[in-house]
């Protein structure tokens, strides 16, 4: 340390050196003059005697730097020699550390990108986002991603607003410099030069890019003029898509593309690293919000285009940028009365005594859906990898400890030959820091590799960044110093004489306790991780065996959207029904039906359902075709299911599930009773059947109250077909495509899946975490085994001589084997056991 300090305060040392040399020369000159030389003669004589002043200065400076560097180089070279002389030890230690540090770096990268990082936009601190809150579960419109949730304490929080509410917020230009509206559009069909692919798409309002402060990588971004009815159809693509499909810079802007078979023009490219406002979404394609009416009129909501004026249909996700000087509280205070007025006077379906109140939240990190979903599992994972690092450290500590013991003699020799204690400690420290650095380097490599793996597994996005790298470096160097220090200090606090006399085996008594504690801790940690893994696996198996209320096996699902190809009501319902009968007639197909969306895998529709004369409550709704219940194997308990009779011109009918029937009719027979639905206040709907409870939209909640309606009696857009088949469902896709092509060649068959794979998609995260945990548990087990083996084999190797003596004295080979194994098995008895055996043997020897 002092030498380092020398380097730093170099200037002062230079000055002092100069003074020192000048003093010498002047004294010499003075002395020479006293002895009778003339002034110039004295100067000359003194200079000759002294030699070159500059050269002396150089040499002195060299001693300052070189002493330090030389020591360092010696330390490094010696460490390298020591480490390569024990390749087994080095490999074990480096590998343990690498695995520990690698796992930590990988998980920390994810934490960093999900929990800590801000949105990749200009000045994220001034962004706010909005939500609303009611006391009970009440949704009108979309509930597309996990943005809305029910909390027992705070009530129901929703993130989507009606378009008129969006306009209301926009009018507050004193608070906000811009209000940013957007909505996920899901996967759209993007076709570039005849090649089609699925692109994750985001609807964005005109102010989106300007408001977020994002600059284009090429061309221009969507502006206010692009987002209005009748504007030219334009799109912005992500940087990744541009690189992938358009091969870099050439010809990106102005490129004609087809989106869902409609011509669009690419006007620009979003900057690299921009993932929208939700780290989970990362869209490939951005289109103006008003293009939405082109292919996605809501099936149940108001007619296409109407959702831009309907105050009761919540679908716009919003953020805003605060003007400078405006605080969150101020914005909240201004918006409260405005939004209350809006809710009271403009909205119609929300219950009057439970109107939504707005919440203004900090928006710098984007949406918190991802954070809410992943933060707890990530903390669990971080705890797991922390334990793994602890196991790895215990490994290395144990190895270093065992080695320090065996090196006592060497150190004693070096101390007795005059090496400074600090010098020896420093050398040992260099060794362990070198180990840690090697482990850290390899660990970062492993991390890069495992980040890729986890990205594939979880579908999350993370990069190894400098912060993460710094954390890994600090972790590895810190580990090195920590591990190096204890054995180093212990090793140099040696009473030289006995240590020198000591045999090669070293004294084991003193270190047995610590080494044992480390090993026990290792085994304990490993057990803990194994238990955690068991819990994750258990959760997964619980989820997989959850009671669905329908049969998931052998069901093919696919989407067909005839509305996009120009079919209109009432013909469209007949078209869909005709297709259904044709699909049902395919050999091997037991039955076929259709519904708005699959039961599980694509979210759910909610609205207010009630009986005449009572306040309606939120329930799930689903429009289905004939044979839906038999196809999905949902039991009809009373009455009948939806069938061919429930045409558009027939009386409106509904089938309710057991939960909904219980909620409204108690134990009475619901068949023949009336229902009201907020989407169609004047409609009289007759309940014609009661069906069993079935999962819809989500796996993990209570069975929700659900009403099923005939799709023909409601506005129809795209539909999902379900086919129960004999054998592998995907094998029937070609036959379906054939029939569809004959019926109308313009309509593609979309999202060909099985109901089973859709459900697996829902529990993706649980599957991924269970797999990750299993991987970590194996890792921990591996590291612990390697460590225990390493320490043990090192100990045994060091005592080969002793074992040889035992055998020479008459111990059988199996006895020494048993001695080694027994030591590992009942570690706690090692000391007493071997001590007594030694006692016994020495007595026998003496007697002999």
């Amino acid at each position: 340390m002092r030498k380092l300090w020398n380097l730093i305060r170099g200037k002062r040392m230079e000055d002092e050196l100069e003074r020192e040399l000048r003093y010498h020369l002047e004294r010499r000159v003075a002395d020479l003059r006293e002895s009778g030389l003339s002034e110039p003669e004295a100067h000359r004589q003194a200079a000759v005697e002294f030699g070159g002043v500059t050269q002396v200065q150089e040499e002195v400076r060299d001693t300052w730097v070189w002493c330090w560097l030389r020591d360092l180089r010696q330390d490094l070279r010696f460490s390298r020699r020591i480490l390569s002389a024990h390749p087994g030890f080095t490999a074990t230690a480096v590998l343990s550390l690498a695995l520990g540090i690698g796992a930590n770096t990988a998980i920390f990268s994810f934490m960093d990108s999900i929990l800590l990082r801000s949105l990749p936009v200009g000045d994220p601190e001034s962004l706010v986002r909005f939500a609303w809150r009611t006391r009970q579960d009440e949704v009108h419109g979309m509930n597309r991603h996990d943005d809305s949730y029910l909390d027992a304490k705070t009530g129901y929080t929703g993130g989507f607003f009606a378009y008129p509410a969006f306009e209301l917020f926009q009018r507050n230009s004193a608070l906000f410099s811009s209000v940013i509206g957007y909505q996920g559009a899901g996967d759209l069909n993007l076709s570039v030069a005849g090649q089609a692919e699925v692109a994750k798409t985001e609807y964005v309002a005109g102010d989106y890019f300007r408001g977020l402060g994002v600059a284009p990588a090429a061309g221009r971004l969507i502006g206010s003029d692009d987002d209005r009815g009748g504007a030219p159809r334009v799109a912005v693509i992500s940087f990744a898509l541009s690189e992938r499909r358009f091969g870099g810079r050439a010809g990106r802007a102005g490129q004609p593309v087809l989106i869902n078979n409609l011509p669009f023009t690419v006007i620009g490219v979003a900057p690299p690293g921009f993932f929208g406002v939700d780290p989970a979404m990362a869209p490939d394609l951005y289109v103006p919000m008003h293009t939405q009416g082109l292919w996605e009129p809501s099936a149940r909501g108001p007619a296409a285009g109407g959702r831009f004026i309907d105050p009761d249909f919540d679908w716009v996700d919003m953020m805003a940028r605060l003007r400078s000087g405006v605080t969150l509280e101020r914005a909240q205070a201004v918006l409260d009365p405005q939004f209350a007025e809006f809710e009271r006077t403009v909205t119609k379906v929300r219950s009057r005594d439970d109107l939504a109140s707005p919440i203004v939240l900090d928006g710098a990190r984007g949406l918190d859906g991802l954070r809410r979903t992943y933060s707890k599992p990530l903390y669990v994972l971080l705890a797991l990898v922390g334990l793994i690092l602890a196991i790895a450290c215990a490994n290395v500590a144990n190895l270093l400890l065992a080695r320090a013991a065996s090196r006592r003699r060497e150190i004693a020799v070096r101390l007795s030959m005059g090496a400074g204690r600090v010098r020896v400690v420093r050398q040992l420290l260099t060794e362990s820091v070198m180990l840690a650095t090697m482990g850290g380097g390899l660990g970062v490599g492993l991390a890069v590799w495992s980040i890729r793996g986890i990205t594939l597994l979880l579908g999350l996005h993370a990069d190894l960044n400098w912060r993460v790298l710094a954390a890994a470096a600090a972790l590895s160097i810190g580990t090195g110093i920590l591990l190096g220090l204890a054995p180093a200090l212990q090793a140099t606090r040696v009473d030289l004489a006995p240590a020198l006399k000591e045999s090669r085996s070293g004294d084991r008594r003193t270190r047995a306790g610590l080494s044992r504690a480390l090993a026990v801790a290792q085994i304990g940690f490993t057990l803990l991780i194994l238990v955690a893994t068991g819990l994750f696996a258990r959760t997964l198996s619980n989820l997989e065996s959850i009671e669905l209320g329908f049969n998931r096996e052998n069901v093919l699902t696919f989407g067909i959207n005839a509305a996009q190809a120009g079919h209109r009501a009432p013909e469209i319902a007949t078209f869909y029904e005709d297709l259904r009968t044709q699909f049902a007639a395919i050999p091997g197909v037991r039955s076929a039906s259709l519904s708005q969306i699959p039961l599980l895998g694509e979210g759910r529709y909610m609205t207010m359902v009630g009986v005449p004369g009572a306040k309606p409550k939120g329930s799930l709704i689903m429009n289905v075709g004939a044979d839906f219940f038999s196809t999905m194997a949902i039991p009809i308990l009373l009455g009948r299911g939806i069938d061919e009779r429930d045409r558009a011109d027939a009386a409106m009918t509904a089938v309710v599930n057991r939960t909904l029937a219980k909620e409204w009719f108690g134990d009475q027979n619901p068949v023949g009773r009336r229902l009201t639905v907020s989407d169609c206040p004047k409609c009289e709907i007759e309940v014609v059947g009661l069906c069993g409870d079935a999962r819809y939209g989500r796996l993990k909640e209570q069975f929700p109250p659900t009403a099923y309606f005939s799709f023909a009696q409601w506005p129809v857009e795209g539909m999902t077909y379900e086919m129960r088949t004999a054998g592998n469902p995907l094998g029937y896709a070609p036959a379906v495509r054939e029939i569809l092509h004959r019926a109308d060649g313009r309509i593609p068959m979309a999202d060909v899946r099985t109901q089973r794979s859709l459900i697996d998609g829902l529990i993706n995260r649980e599957i991924a975490f269970a797999r990750l945990c299993t991987a970590f548990a194996l890792l921990a087990l591996g590291i612990a085994c390697v460590g225990l083996y390493g320490t043990m084999s090192y100990n045994v190797a060091r005592r080969t001589g002793e074992i040889g003596v035992r055998i020479a004295l008459g111990a059988q080979r199996w006895m020494s084997r048993g001695w080694c194994c027994g030591k590992r098995c009942c570690w706690s008895r090692q000391e007493s056991g071997s001590a007594s055996s030694f006692f016994w043997r020495t007595r026998a020897l003496r007697q002999a």
Partner: protein, 112 residues
């Protein structure tokens, strides 16, 4: 060689001599140079400048320590003195020198 009154001294030996001189009491560089000359009756006369790298090297090793104080002429000079480790080192070197010298002497005596 016999005729020459001066011969170059190996580096290690210079270190030892410096330590020996300083063990008698603190001194500055010029003083050490003078002292060396007197002690060795002019037989050992290093280039005076080469004394300073040796002094700094010994200081870096922690065998010497230094401080600035006024010298006999009243001017500020850098005074060196031996540290505890330096003392030990000197003792060890003296011992090994003695052993070496005795051994060499024995061999010479035998050849006589």
């Amino acid at each position: 060689m016999i005729g020459s009154s001066r011969f170059p001294i190996p580096q290690g030996t210079l270190d030892m001599l410096v330590l020996q001189i300083l063990s008698l009491g603190p001194a500055h560089g010029y003083g050490i140079a003078q002292h060396l000359q007197q002690l060795s009756r002019e037989a050992v006369q290093p280039n005076q400048g080469s004394l300073y790298p040796a002094l700094h090297r010994l200081e870096q090793k922690g065998w010497l320590k230094s401080e600035w104080r006024s010298s006999e002429t009243g001017r500020e000079a850098k005074f060196y003195s031996v540290t505890r480790t330096g003392g030990k080192q000197l003792a060890a070197e003296k011992q090994s020198w003695d052993r070496l010298a005795t051994a060499v002497q024995l061999i010479f005596d035998e050849g006589r």
